[in-house]
């Protein structure tokens, strides 16, 4: 095998996947680009169908909340918390195994990219029971579909409606608004434009935020006494009546449709294409990606009406995306890669603890903007020690530790520098050799 082909295979395996399973590198080396592109053809996996769907979990949450308010029974709350913890760990384990065991790791990378783009976080504990369902229901089906469909699915999902307070927003002149003192909440409207579509420099104003907030009033979740409890529901009695002017365009009063039309337009603005292209390029090319790459990816986004399969193909076609070790792995990326190469996935409890210690516990992003995609936010003096600790404690847990020298060849081909190879060969124990392989500067990057 020629060295160049192996290097391209390594980039493919780490950039458009997580890391090669032992033996996989030589297969990928036959056609690295083809391997990356081919992964987009498979139907996205929706994980174990027995994981609980959101309407049921939302209904149960509403019921538990009502019950607790009536009888204040701390035991029932404790039982409920234990149940939610079990659901959370099951979700974590399912998505981890999909990334570690599956043959289309690019899809899993895309799932996490988009899930992070549309962050919902259990920092708001009310969504604990269905944050995982959000990713399965609103993100996974659309990663190679149309952006607008993912946008609609994400914004209408109960997890998002709760997380960004939309369920509490009431049109001040709606029938309900005139009866009570509650009114507009602009949280979802603002983040939708700033984070999900146009981007902060996308040209909207405070007036646009307020107009979109008015347009979205009525978007909520069916309550306990409604037949479709726990699902998206439009309540006309909460909706602010009248036409609204958003980004220079007037949206006639049309109830629910007023909001859907506004979202469809937001998905189609050129600023949205540029915002998405910038984030994709930052994830797949470099922390500060070349402008030309961003422009080309944005052009494909615009020309295809946000066809995410075509957009991802455009990313793969960028020559700049094929530079080895250009990106530092974020913590979850690192853990998945460790599991893929060692063939061992620790229990969900360990996954959660490790990622919490590394400041990237899944579904617990601190703010609606999600996790950073730049090395400077992940690599500090303390973080480097924690990452090394994580590699060592994982190496210590391997039930059948492989030979570190053979594994290094399997994982890196010929891309591992001599000093790292030497350190691994000279390691005092198999365990230390494996820990050094996982902690090496090359394995910490992708």
């Amino acid at each position: 095998m020629v060295a160049a082909a192996l290097t391209n295979a390594l980039v493919a395996a780490t950039r458009f996947g997580y890391a090669p399973k032992p033996g996989e590198l030589t297969t990928i080396a036959q056609d690295p680009r083809g391997w990356a592109l081919h992964q987009l053809e498979a139907k996205p996996t929706l994980l174990d169908p027995s994981l609980p769907a959101s309407p049921g979990m939302v209904a149960e949450f509403l019921r538990a909340r009502q019950e607790f308010r009536q009888n204040k029974d701390p035991d029932s709350r404790k039982t409920e918390n234990q149940r939610l913890r079990a659901v959370y760990l099951a979700e974590l384990d399912a998505r981890m195994h999909a990334a570690v065991d599956g043959d289309a790791p690019l899809q899993e990378r895309l799932v996490r990219f988009w899930s992070n783009h549309f962050t919902v976080s259990c920092v708001r504990p009310i969504i604990r029971g269905f944050a995982g369902a959000f990713e399965r229901e609103a993100i996974r089906p659309h990663i190679t579909g149309r952006f607008v469909d993912m946008l609609l699915a994400a914004e209408r999902h109960p997890a998002m409606l709760f997380y960004l307070d939309q369920v509490l927003s009431i049109g001040p002149n709606s029938p309900a608004g005139r009866r009570q003192r509650r009114g507009l909440n602009e949280n979802l409207a603002r983040e939708m434009m700033e984070l999900h579509t146009l981007g902060v420099d996308g040209g909207y104003t405070q007036d646009d935020v307020e107009a979109l907030a008015r347009i979205l009033t009525g978007w909520s979740i069916a309550r306990l006494n409604d037949p479709n409890v726990g699902q998206f529901h439009f309540y006309p009695q909460l909706h602010e009546p009248g036409a609204q002017r958003l980004l220079g365009k007037t949206y006639a009063e049309s109830g629910y449709d007023q909001g859907e039309l506004a979202l469809r337009d937001l998905a189609a603005y050129p600023a949205t294409a540029t915002h998405i292209a910038t984030k994709l390029a930052r994830h797949f090319i470099a922390d500060d990606p070349p402008k030309e790459s961003v422009q080309r990816i944005a052009a494909v986004f615009r020309e295809t009406g946000g066809d995410l399969k075509r957009v991802t193909q455009a990313v793969i076609r960028e020559d700049a995306a094929w530079k080895a070790f250009a990106k530092v792995r974020a913590p979850e990326d690192l853990l998945i890669a460790c599991c893929r190469v060692t063939g061992f996935t620790p229990p969900a409890q360990f996954q959660a603890q490790t990622l919490r210690a590394l400041d990237q516990q899944p579904f617990f992003a601190p703010q609606p903007e999600g996790w950073s995609d730049q090395a400077k936010d992940w690599i500090g003096p303390e973080a480097v020690l924690h990452r090394a600790d994580c590699c060592e404690s994982l190496a210590a847990r391997l039930p059948n530790p492989p030979d570190p020298v053979t594994l290094a060849d399997d994982v890196f081909g010929e891309a591992l520098p001599d000093d790292a190879g030497q350190a691994i060969r000279r390691a005092a124990s198999r365990r230390e050799g494996l820990a050094l392989l996982l902690a090496s500067p090359e394995f910490q990057r992708r």
């Binding site: 902060v200 919490r356 303390e382 600790d389 060592e392 790292a420 350190a423 000279r426």
Partner: protein
């Protein structure tokens, strides 16, 4: 409450804004002086933290979340302290707490993430800033020739280094350990593996140095487990920071963060989410002060947030992104027990919704950097706040 309308009129005219007092100039490095910056992420509601209960428009414009003057701790000029901050009352009475009730930065578009970037890089307009104003100040205190000897001047508490402290001068970080400390042989081998890596190499070296140092200083008293940045986690972090800063050979300048100020929903008044946050913050200040011990008298702490919140309550008993907010300046070196800066009043609002900014937070920072750390005005304008030369350093913040 002894506040009259006249107090507010007087304030609007700047009657109690302190005029230029003489101040000491320190040519040498800061020596025993400590400086701590606390970043309150999410936009703290200054109108709830330091409510202007004497402003004639306050109760009417705030609506249901207006604080009742009787439930608050009365201060001067019609301002009060939120009951969540009651731990700070003795600090105010002792003259160690200064409050700036209409502060803000030069930023007006109400995005958290841009607002936080600007609060930390200290510039007026959004640029691709990659370093923070506190790191640029460190560069002036620690000439490049001395950096390799690592005087451990700067410390980021809580894991990653915030933009505020990023830049040319390497800083240490400290956070409670969440995973066990790796085997020494492994770490030694790793050191040689990382030696040629520009990113991982220096980070590992500094990490090990800090770990040894903080283990020695904190011993068994180190808070356990990564507790996040919420109200309950802040006091242990601030307390640990106090111990580290108090140590003879410890850092002198530190940055801490506290999250959770984005109170769009049910922010509460004398209880609830914002109250919890404020009491967590006050407990943290108190823990910091206690653990600094005798060093507290040489300490200045400023706590700042990206912007304030709407004057009016929103539709969900919370507040949305606004403009003017309040700032805390405290420490044994502070000439406190006062309300500082002009009060624009709630009669006329920014964009008809927000408190106006009367004091730019960078003037406060400039005043502290000049009078406490001895950085001259020319360097402040040239290096630390290069596009804010027109902003004068706040005068008279510190005890003479």
């Amino acid at each position: 409450m002894g506040t009259t309308r006249r107090d507010f009129l007087g304030m609007a005219a700047g009657a109690f804004a302190v005029a230029g007092l003489p101040h000491a100039v320190f040519a040498a490095a800061p020596g025993d002086r400590r400086f701590v910056v606390v970043l309150l992420r999410g936009a703290m509601d200054g109108l709830a933290a330091v409510p202007p209960v004497g402003d004639p428009h306050y109760a009417e414009k705030r609506g249901v979340i207006a604080l009742d003057a009787d439930a608050c701790i009365a201060l001067d000029h019609g301002f009060a302290l939120n009951p969540g901050l009651k731990v700070l009352e003795p600090y105010y009475r002792r003259g160690e707490l200064l409050l700036v009730p209409a502060s803000g930065n030069g930023y007006r578009t109400r995005s958290h993430f841009d607002g936080q970037d600007l609060m930390e890089c200290g510039l007026s307009a959004k640029t691709r800033a990659t370093d923070g104003w506190l790191n640029r100040a460190l560069a002036l205190l620690q000439p490049a020739s001395n950096r390799s000897s690592d005087k451990r001047l700067g410390l980021a508490v809580g894991g990653a280094v915030p933009l505020l402290l990023r830049g040319a001068v390497p800083v240490a970080t400290w956070e409670p350990a969440g995973v066990k400390v790796a085997d020494a042989d492994f770490v030694t081998a790793l050191g040689s593996l990382y030696q040629h890596d520009a990113l991982f190499g220096p980070a590992l070296q500094l990490g090990l140095k800090t770990q040894n140092f903080s283990d020695t200083v904190l011993g068994d008293s180190a808070p356990k487990g990564p507790g996040g940045f919420g109200p309950k986690a802040f006091a242990p972090l601030a307390g640990a920071a106090g111990k580290l800063l108090a140590a003879e050979d410890g850092p002198r300048i530190a940055a801490l963060e506290m999250l959770g100020w984005d109170t769009h929903v049910a922010q509460g008044t004398t209880q609830g989410r914002l109250y919890e946050n404020l009491s967590g913050l006050a407990d943290g200040f108190d823990a910091l002060a206690q653990n600094l011990g005798p060093a507290w008298k040489n300490t200045v702490v400023i706590a700042t947030t990206e912007f304030g919140r709407t004057v009016a309550v929103n539709g969900t008993n919370g507040t949305d992104h606004g403009t003017g907010t309040a700032m805390f300046v405290l420490g044994g070196a502070v000439k406190g027990g006062r309300i500082y800066g002009d009060w624009p009043g709630l009669g006329q609002l920014e964009d008809n919704r927000d408190l106006r900014v009367a004091t730019d937070s960078r003037s406060i920072a400039k005043g502290v950097l000049r009078d406490h750390l001895g950085i001259d005005s020319a360097s402040l304008n040239a290096k630390v706040f290069p596009d804010a030369a027109a902003l004068k350093p706040a005068e008279g913040l510190l005890r003479a």
